[in-house]
Structures are given as structure tokens and as C-alpha cells.
């Protein structure tokens, strides 16, 4: 039987901490908020409720992987969704309208990336883009929400398939494709390296800028998907950039342990982070606890998760160093004996 030492336990906690937390929360609320919370029906609702925050979290994560925090996500979502709504309102079919929304997202992401590559600060650039895109969305709609013919999107945002809300399938698609790209392709490995250690990538003859550009483009594309899904879910497109999604997305990303400076992180854990936030909100709501508690508990959890990540990371490094020192001593002694 394999003997667990303290290092392997610490590594396990670092790798599975957020997932363990989600499992504990699910068990806790299933008992405390019984009989409603622990049902299959409620679990499928949780998957649906976490879907839109998870999409925005993925958009933020894609930017963060490549080493840049993309704050233009809400603006991209707002602009692409209102353009889609205008097209749908004009009688254009939903699929081409969605296609145009996604192209807008890609274009905005590409524009962010190209500007940042000139040497400007990514935070400042993406804040600027947030203002520009929100402003354009407000100008073309005169600041008013669009709801004409938006019921055509019910299949995408308000319908259950196999008992699971439709937005979950979009999330599953994004996260599966994203995870395969990041973990199973050479491009994915380089993409992560572009954020974590661009210099090393450059020295190995790979153009890191291409991968940073890809990060912004993917962030823009996923933000546009988020905008489309938000409109499909609410049956309207609002020109006001949903800035609260930034907070929700950042919370999920931070809970996942993804380094905001880029280079490492797991996309499935970002989804788990979104689920954690959703489960807390849902459990407290079912128990009819004041919603303000959700905000405070989520904030406390975020700080605890970051602190845990920090200290466990340090402890792992310390243990690994002492372990390698011990084994080096042993090797040296063996050599001396010989």
C-alpha cells in the first residue's frame, strides 16, 4: 500500500482543494437545505445557474492564461449582444446573427491584442476598450434594452434538454474544447508558456506575441458567447455592460487557483469555482437566508482560498526542497560508502 507523506497530502490539497470544497458544500447544503437542495432536479438547475458566470469566467481565464487580465469582457458582451439583437429584430435568422456577434467578439479581442503588443499596459487598454464598446452599444441602441423577437433565442437560453438547462451545454462545449486545447496540444502548452515565461518561449524560437494575441482573441470570442447567452437567458439585450460579471468571473478564476499573472491553471477548476459561488447563493436562498450573506460569504471564501493557495504553495515548495536536500545527502553518503 502506498504510504502518504505530508508532501503528497499537501500536493493533493493544492490540486484538488477547490473540488473538495465544492463537494463539501454540496454535501453540507444537501443536509441543511433538505429535501430541496439535494435533488437531481436542483442539481441540474445549479448547472444552469452557474453557466453564464462560468462562460464569463472562461473569458477572463483565457486572457489570464496568456498573462493579461482582459477587463473589456463586459463591454464586448454588451456590444456583440446588441448587434445580434438588432439583427434578430430586423428579421434576420438567429444563427447568422449569433455568428456576427461572435465575429465582433473576435475582432475586439484581436484589436486589444494588437494594441497591447505595441507596448501599452493591457489593463489600461482593456479598460479603454470596455468604455468604447459600452459607449458604442449605448449609442446604437439609444441606451434602451432590445427585446423585439428575442423570444427566438428561447432554444438557446430558456429551454431544458434532458432535464438540464440549455446554457450548460454551451459551457460544456467551451470547457471541453478549451481543456483539450490547453492540455493536449502543443499550441496549448505554448499558449500557457506565453503567459508564464514568455522569455523562455522566445529563446526556444517561438513567437510569444502570437500566443498572447490568441489569448485576447479567445477572451473576446468567449465574452461574445457570454453576451449572446445572457441575452438568450433574459430574452433581451441590454446596452449597459454587465460589469458584475467581471466580479463573478474573477471570483471563480481566483477560487480556481489560476495565477492572474498567467502561465498556469486548470480550466475545469474555473468551472468548479463558478459552481462554488452558485452553490453558496442557491443553498442560502433555498434556506431563505438574507441574500447579503451570500456576498459576504463569497468574499470570505475568496480570501480564504487565496490564503490557502499561498500557504499551501509555500509549504509544498519548502517540503519539496527539504526532501530533495535529504535525498541529495543520502546519495552523497552512498557515494562516500562506495
Amino acid at each position: 500500500m502506498k504510504k502518504f507523506d505530508s508532501l503528497s497530502i499537501l500536493v493533493f490539497i493544492r490540486s484538488w482543494g477547490i473540488t473538495t470544497l465544492l463537494a463539501m458544500l454540496l454535501i453540507f447544503f444537501s443536509i441543511w437545505a433538505a429535501p430541496v437542495f439535494g435533488t437531481l432536479e436542483n442539481f441540474s438547475l445549479l448547472l444552469g445557474n452557474a453557466a453564464i458566470p462560468a462562460i464569463f469566467a472562461a473569458a477572463i481565464a483565457m486572457g489570464a492564461y496568456s498573462g493579461a487580465l482582459d477587463l473589456s469582457v463586459p463591454g464586448t458582451a454588451a456590444l456583440s449582444s446588441v448587434v445580434m439583437a438588432i439583427m434578430i429584430g430586423a428579421g434576420i435568422d438567429t444563427v447568422p446573427a449569433i455568428g456576427v456577434a461572435l465575429v465582433i467578439g473576435i475582432a475586439i479581442g484581436l484589436m486589444n491584442g494588437l494594441i497591447v503588443q505595441t507596448g501599452l499596459n493591457p489593463l489600461a487598454v482593456t479598460i479603454g476598450t470596455l468604455s468604447i464598446t459600452s459607449g458604442i452599444a449605448a449609442i446604437i441602441t439609444d441606451g434602451l434594452p432590445l427585446f423585439d423577437k428575442m423570444e427566438k433565442l428561447e432554444w438557446l437560453g430558456l429551454t431544458d434538454y434532458f432535464g438540464i438547462p440549455s446554457p450548460f451545454f454551451v459551457v460544456a462545449f467551451i470547457y471541453i474544447i478549451g481543456t483539450i486545447f490547453l492540455t493536449k496540444t502543443r499550441g496549448g502548452v505554448r499558449f500557457l508558456a506565453a503567459g508564464g515565461n514568455p522569455e523562455a518561449l522566445r529563446r526556444s524560437g517561438v513567437n510569444a506575441n502570437v500566443y498572447r494575441l490568441l489569448g485576447f482573441t479567445l477572451s473576446g470570442l468567449i465574452a461574445a458567447i457570454g453576451g449572446v447567452m445572457n441575452s438568450a437567458y433574459t430574452a433581451q439585450a441590454t446596452p449597459g455592460a454587465p460589469t458584475s460579471v467581471l466580479f463573478d468571473g474573477l471570483t471563480a478564476v481566483a477560487l480556481s487557483g489560476l495565477a492572474l499573472s498567467g502561465g498556469r491553471g486548470s480550466l475545469p477548476k474555473v468551472w468548479v469555482g463558478s459552481m462554488v459561488v452558485t452553490v453558496i447563493g442557491s443553498g442560502l436562498l433555498i434556506k431563505n437566508i438574507q441574500p447579503f450573506w451570500t456576498i459576504s460569504i463569497t468574499g470570505a471564501l475568496l480570501i480564504a482560498a487565496l490564503a490557502g493557495e499561498h500557504y499551501i504553495g509555500k509549504a509544498v515548495a519548502k517540503q519539496a526542497v527539504s526532501k530533495s536536500t535529504v535525498s541529495a545527502h543520502k546519495e552523497a553518503k552512498k557515494a562516500e560508502v562506495k
Binding site: G143, L144, P145, L158, D160, Y233, T234, G240, L285, Q290
Partner: protein, 318 residues
């Protein structure tokens, strides 16, 4: 574009700007400039209100400008208004406080000293005054009436649909909303009177985010599958409720009772089609007329005492 051509364009733009700036004082002298400063320039209803103010103001000889966005921040609103006052850009303004009205007290006093008039939402007490003030008109929303009308609407709906003993999910305003206490207390009193046997099974705070309201209401419906009624305090919350009931397959014209405060086109259309039973709408059109006429009078004579106005409430019921 060559450097010489670019220089020419710059000179041209500068000359045009100079020409425009020399014409502005003449125009301002003919037509007093007044500003509109709501809590946010991004709320659809308030954008509509600004356009109404702009249009009707022009017909009354007032040039209406939009103050920079307060974005729900009382300090930003105060700073923006004071900049307009100090720079002598306006003769008056109409504001809807972005937070605690008392933040604007010193701004109002500064304006009074400079002979600049104002219409502000709330009562004199909200701004630390008592009674009528020189150059300031107070326009108070009757929150209690709004709450009463919605509470009555919900109760009547349940009784009409033979659901008098039904389970109800109560909507609440987010913490810090102006008038929250008055609206919600009046709602409860009127609702309990109209449908005394109805049972409130959950309370959900919903603000101006449709998606969040929708998610919360659908979760509450999961916890309380027999619930048939919800009251939204904003269009966003009401729309979220409609979507939540529909997506949970719990909407039935025979039993569901949704009432809402606000009244944008979409919600009024839902009320007409029977999806929403009752809508209590603040009659901003009526308020607009009385406010513009009052502002015009005050601009003409800033030394006069302002008025105490009340925003009417219009109710649309099936």
C-alpha cells in the same frame, strides 16, 4: 495624410471651435441652460426621461444638457454638479439623487448663493432643510402609494384567480434603495389586507440585473414549487420573474400572479397580454411637465421660494 495637410485640418478645426465658442454665450443668453443629473445615465427609463426633458424643455425655452454620468455614486454626482455651477455653465438643474440626498445639501447651498435653481427628488428634510426654500423645488415620490398599489394588485390577483391561500415569493429592493422601507411596508400592509390567507414563503432582493433576478427567482421556485406569485420592484426584476416562471414551466395564466413597479414598454406589453397582472408606474411624463414648468418659473426668478411637488403614480391592472 501628409504633415502639412494634417496641420491644415488642425487649424481648420481650431478655427471652427473658436467660431462656435463665440456663438455659445449669445445662445446661452437667449436660452437658459439647465442640466439633468439622474443617478445613472444608463438606465433606459431615465434616458427616456432625459429626451422628454430635452424636448419639452426646448418648447419652453430651456436648453437641456445631460450632466456627466453619476453612475450611482453620490460623490461623483455632487462633483459633476458643482463643476457645472462653478463654471457658470447652467442656470438650473433637475437631479435624482444617486445616493443619500443629504450629500447634495452643500451643492444646493452653493447654487442658492449663485442664483442657480434646482429641482431635486425627495423632501426638504431629506436634504437637511425644513419647508420651502429659495430657488429649490422638492419633488417627492410617493413610495407608500406605490407600495400600496402593488400590494393591492397582488392581493386582488390572487383572490381573482382563486388562489387566496397561495404561496407567494416576495420581492425586496436591494439594501440602501431610497424609499425601500416605505414601499415594502405599504406593500405588505395592503397585500395582507387584500389576501390575508396568502403565505409568504421566501423573500428575494432583486435590483436592476435581470439575469440575477431570474436565477434567484427560479431557485426560489425550486424550493417552493407551489408558489404562484411574485412582486418585482423594477422592470428588470419583473422580467426576470416572467422568464423564471416560464423556464420552470410554472407559468399559468389561470394561477400565476406577477405584479411590477416600473413600467417600461416591455412590461406594459406583458401587462396588456395578461402575463403581468398589475403594473404601478411612476408617472414621469406627468412629473416631467410640472417639473419643466416649475424650473422655467424658477430660472426666471431665482429669488422666489420653490415648490413642494409630488410624482404621481399610475396603475395598470388587468
Amino acid at each position: 495624410m501628409g504633415a502639412r495637410t494634417f496641420k491644415k485640418v488642425l487649424v481648420g478645426v481650431a478655427t471652427a471651435a473658436l467660431a462656435l465658442s463665440t456663438t455659445v454665450p449669445a445662445q446661452a443668453a437667449d436660452q437658459p441652460v439647465v442640466a439633468f443629473s439622474p443617478m445613472s445615465n444608463q438606465i433606459p427609463a431615465l434616458i427616456g426621461m432625459f429626451h422628454g426633458f430635452e424636448g419639452f424643455g426646448a418648447s419652453q425655452g430651456l436648453k437641456v444638457i445631460q450632466a456627466p454620468d453619476a453612475n450611482f455614486d453620490p460623490a461623483t454626482q455632487k462633483k459633476n454638479l458643482e463643476a457645472l455651477i462653478r463654471n457658470g455653465q447652467i442656470k438650473g438643474w433637475w437631479s435624482l439623487a444617486a445616493g443619500a440626498p443629504s450629500t447634495l445639501r452643500s451643492t444646493l447651498l452653493m447654487a442658492q448663493r449663485k442664483g442657480i435653481v434646482a429641482i431635486v427628488n425627495g423632501t426638504p428634510a431629506d436634504y437637511g432643510f425644513s419647508g420651502k426654500q429659495r430657488g429649490i423645488t422638492f419633488s417627492a415620490i410617493d413610495y407608500a402609494t406605490m407600495g400600496t398599489k402593488l400590494g393591492e394588485g397582488m392581493g386582488k390577483c390572487l383572490v381573482a384567480k382563486k388562489e387566496a391561500t397561495a404561496e407567494v415569493i416576495l420581492g425586496a429592493n436591494p439594501a440602501g434603495t431610497v424609499g425601500k422601507k416605505e414601499m415594502e411596508a405599504a406593500f405588505l400592509a395592503a397585500f395582507k389586507k387584500a389576501a390575508p390567507k396568502a403565505k409568504i414563503v421566501a423573500t428575494i432582493a432583486t435590483g436592476g440585473d435581470t439575469a440575477k433576478a431570474q436565477t434567484a427567482i427560479r431557485t426560489a421556485l425550486q424550493a417552493h414549487p407551489k408558489a404562484v406569485a411574485f412582486n418585482g420592484w423594477s422592470d428588470e426584476a419583473t422580467l426576470g420573474a416572467i422568464n423564471a416562471f416560464k423556464s420552470a414551466n410554472k407559468f399559468s395564466a389561470k394561477t400565476t400572479c406577477i405584479v411590477g413597479g416600473g413600467g417600461n414598454d416591455e412590461i406594459l406589453a406583458a401587462q396588456k397580454s395578461g402575463i403581468v397582472y398589475s403594473v404601478a408606474k411612476l408617472d414621469f411624463e406627468g412629473d416631467l411637465v410640472q417639473s419643466v414648468l416649475t424650473l422655467k418659473e424658477m430660472v426666471a426668478d431665482p429669488t422666489k421660494l420653490g415648490k413642494l411637488l409630488s410624482v404621481p403614480v399610475k396603475v395598470f391592472t388587468n
